[in-house]
Symmetry: C3
Subunit: 417 residues, 3 copies
Amino acid sequence: MNEALFTANNVWMLVATVLVFVMHLGFSALEAGFVQRKNTVNILFKNAMIIAIGLLTYCLIGFNLMYPGTNAGGFFGFAGFGLNMPAGEAGGIGYADGAYTYYTDFIFQGMFAATAATIVSGAVAERIKLNAFLVFAALFVAISYPITGMWKWGAGWLDAAGFYDFAGSSLVHAVGGWGALAAVLLLGARRGKYTRNGIKPIPGHSMPLAAIGVFLLWFGWFGFNGGSVLSADPVAVSLVFVTTALAASAGAVGAFIVSYSLFKSHDLSMVLNGILGGLVGITAGADVMTPTDAILIGGIAGMVIPVSVVFFDRIKVDDPVGATSVHLVCGVWGTLAVGIFGAKASLAQLWVQFYGTMSIGLFTFVFAFSLMYLLKVTIGIRVSEEDEERGLDVSEHDMEAYEEGTVTEPAYQLSVK
Amino acid sequence: MNEALFTANNVWMLVATVLVFVMHLGFSALEAGFVQRKNTVNILFKNAMIIAIGLLTYCLIGFNLMYPGTNAGGFFGFAGFGLNMPAGEAGGIGYADGAYTYYTDFIFQGMFAATAATIVSGAVAERIKLNAFLVFAALFVAISYPITGMWKWGAGWLDAAGFYDFAGSSLVHAVGGWGALAAVLLLGARRGKYTRNGIKPIPGHSMPLAAIGVFLLWFGWFGFNGGSVLSADPVAVSLVFVTTALAASAGAVGAFIVSYSLFKSHDLSMVLNGILGGLVGITAGADVMTPTDAILIGGIAGMVIPVSVVFFDRIKVDDPVGATSVHLVCGVWGTLAVGIFGAKASLAQLWVQFYGTMSIGLFTFVFAFSLMYLLKVTIGIRVSEEDEERGLDVSEHDMEAYEEGTVTEPAYQLSVK
Amino acid sequence: MNEALFTANNVWMLVATVLVFVMHLGFSALEAGFVQRKNTVNILFKNAMIIAIGLLTYCLIGFNLMYPGTNAGGFFGFAGFGLNMPAGEAGGIGYADGAYTYYTDFIFQGMFAATAATIVSGAVAERIKLNAFLVFAALFVAISYPITGMWKWGAGWLDAAGFYDFAGSSLVHAVGGWGALAAVLLLGARRGKYTRNGIKPIPGHSMPLAAIGVFLLWFGWFGFNGGSVLSADPVAVSLVFVTTALAASAGAVGAFIVSYSLFKSHDLSMVLNGILGGLVGITAGADVMTPTDAILIGGIAGMVIPVSVVFFDRIKVDDPVGATSVHLVCGVWGTLAVGIFGAKASLAQLWVQFYGTMSIGLFTFVFAFSLMYLLKVTIGIRVSEEDEERGLDVSEHDMEAYEEGTVTEPAYQLSVK
């Protein structure tokens, strides 16, 4: 292998890694912006812990569950605990067809892993018990995500069946979305959301935070999709940049048009979620679409967003940040779109895409539902009515997000007295 | 062409692309911070739509207006609608002297294009009708920006004349500034700004947002200028990094000194705009200056900022974010500086720089003024007095940026009831 | 030297440079979030000026103090004022063993330099006179930081003695921490912090800002540590990514466990500082540790954080952002850890690490204390009681960070009237 080419490839993979890392800040800001002021510290705390727990558990077991290196075409495999860099060239420039090192492989994939759990955190915000969520997130990211991930990216049965999911419309985003749906169904809506007199809006507390989050997610998505080329191949990566950017743009415009038509208003949260919907939508096929395909896929995803948000509200699935619409609905859409648009479009492909995403969804939903149910009947998953009213920042963290309001003394300061 | 070198070059151009992308977040945060609380959602909405519309229109016509590939030395050319990757090597490693692919070229240039319209959005904030602005922005970025861009970067008449504008002090920043000036002149000042009793200050609502914006803009500028080398050439790109960083630093110090002398106060917004002024100033000649030249150019730009801000206020050009001072004044200064400092300095060069930037400015001003005038006499460009008083967040978006205050129900939630 | 490999290396070093640059935004947001609302503009102003002053002074003298190029094994050297790119190949692809150019070297190192002063700014926040701080920061970054930096990275006496500090646990972080400690001791605590009735908590005004800051610091740290490989060597840089990310994650978990045990609360600021503690801890040995070592080092650093914060509060060292705990304590810990864990562990190494970090600390503390003392007895370092009460935003800047509250007219606006 040419050392210079290997180095250039590896540089790109590491840059992509830091871009995917920054998506965790994007999710934090987005979710913080979309929750009420009184639950802001709680959502930030969850997001800071998820990336930490996600990387540690992925190091301990997830990476070796997802890439067992054996059992090709299977449902499950495990290569043992912890990281074990192959000796000699194989961990260095002989690894991965000479595109990046073993450690690069781990850290890039590890950044993906925590994403799935982060998606759940937004949907269950404002009423879940923190400790229950942390246990859920740890097991979801350590076990559930890598098993379905292995089905395709670890050379498992869906890969053998011809299923295609370039960067994870299903494997990452719909997985997060199914986990969110399962959790929300068991958790129930926030108190006061669905009343006798209709649906009560509970607006987020900071639109600038939400907008910063979406821009950072888009920024990071260039690494999420661009890095999924798994090399710095110039034509492939640059095409992925173009399809990713155009799908996001079309998502914004699609959501703008539909939400303006439906509500006669310029709804910022719809446009922001439209961008994310476009990004989730293109993710499964970002490398096999033309620019025009990307605009259509992203535009449709964006148009779906306002309809989906209203739909979930009507069936009383209370998702404060719209994660199910963005990640579940657009994730499934993006996966199917590979069978409809672009280089792989065919009826046979569409069928594989359909049962692939449904299989992944079924496993994930059952896993997440069972786990959350177990937590519900043991340690409990929902905070008390009083705590929900006061806000989780005070009840779980003894602090407030902003200076104004009733100042509560941080616990450590009290202990110092 | 050496595949490894090509790959390294292309990686850098893609990294530069994501850095320029993040400037759109920088502008969003900066402009949001500098407007009043009641107009925050509006400015975020504008900025999210501009990048989306900018990329889509650049894909549809802008790219082929700016790089027609024919009509060298001319005023206008058009290579047809949409993206058409040249077949074979020409779209891949045979493209652009082996430095990057066709798709890389498009997406890097596309990120630049939307910038010009974004500059306008800050200046017209807090009183322009949203739909009028979106139409203006779409046509400005789709038609006006690429035509003057072609004059230099598309091998047009100014390129033939020896005009130099490395990364766009004139082609991007002054263009945005002239557009802003034209729009502001037609739009008028915010109500209550210029009164019988003098100029009423209307401070921005969040200095942290403004500061985040400026840091992110500086961050992104390493890609804006560094990517304009159009390869990863180590000596050239690293020199550009040094001149860019030193000019920004000197801009901060220059603005600090002058604003402290004039106002006897440590004015944060002056220092922030001084950084931006330094960055705009170095942009035209970032690759042909020594570090010392960069410090002088940036320092002068920074010193100009407080004077220019006061000047525009005195002539009642109401620009809430200082875009005309930063982008127009420092953009022209930076363009002229190429004739005064550095490797290209000469009286002949200064003359070309002068009539080059003036020609670009004239075309842009006339285009922007005519377009905005047309909008004014048709759909109207200014919100009602009542709406301006209430704020555009409520009048145009039915929502507020923050939780506190009178809570308005989002339109989609109302429709769900 | 292979041109393609050189280019790939140089691209990585420039990417690392922009990542380290963004740490200045991280520090700004973190410190702004942890101070009171009334001192927000002040801390943003300081941070914007520090990066500007830091880069300019590093260009003028710091770079040539730190890398004198002669006097190997010595305590002090100086290669003259300003930047002087070696002619021909020596400043380009012949420089630095073919890994990056002279200008890349300067700008990467320059971004590091300003960090040390930034660390101080958080600790002295809310009561230091702005002009005194700016003078302190300029001399600290121009003289003190490069002299101790030269001892190791400039091939000075500690380098000759076998001292190891890969990316600056001591040379950057502990140096900043010792400077902070010296300054705080002379400055005293904020009024009302340590009262007859115990320690009064003074919570920061915005947890979202603090969290954004920590995520951005982590993001930038991939460049801080990853760039310290001083090439894009794939195995080395990817290992550094893994150790850096795992140490940060373990830091979060360590701080979570200890703070939950001690205070029975989920303390967000402890987890955030735990992440930073883990990052500072791994920095000295990021390239010589296994993933398991990194988890242990980071975990211990995180566990130390809550204890250290309480300790400094008990001895009445008032540090609003916890900079001494994060940068000084974990910086020393990380330096010692090189003698305890990983490829270099030995008793002899531990001894060198100990006297190395102590020597650096002693020089820095004496320099900082003397300088601050000189400022105290001349221009004064502490604002008046009245100004501290009103907040520095109004007293030093005539403006407020947010729209609400008593609106003060910006000085330049007043002068325009």
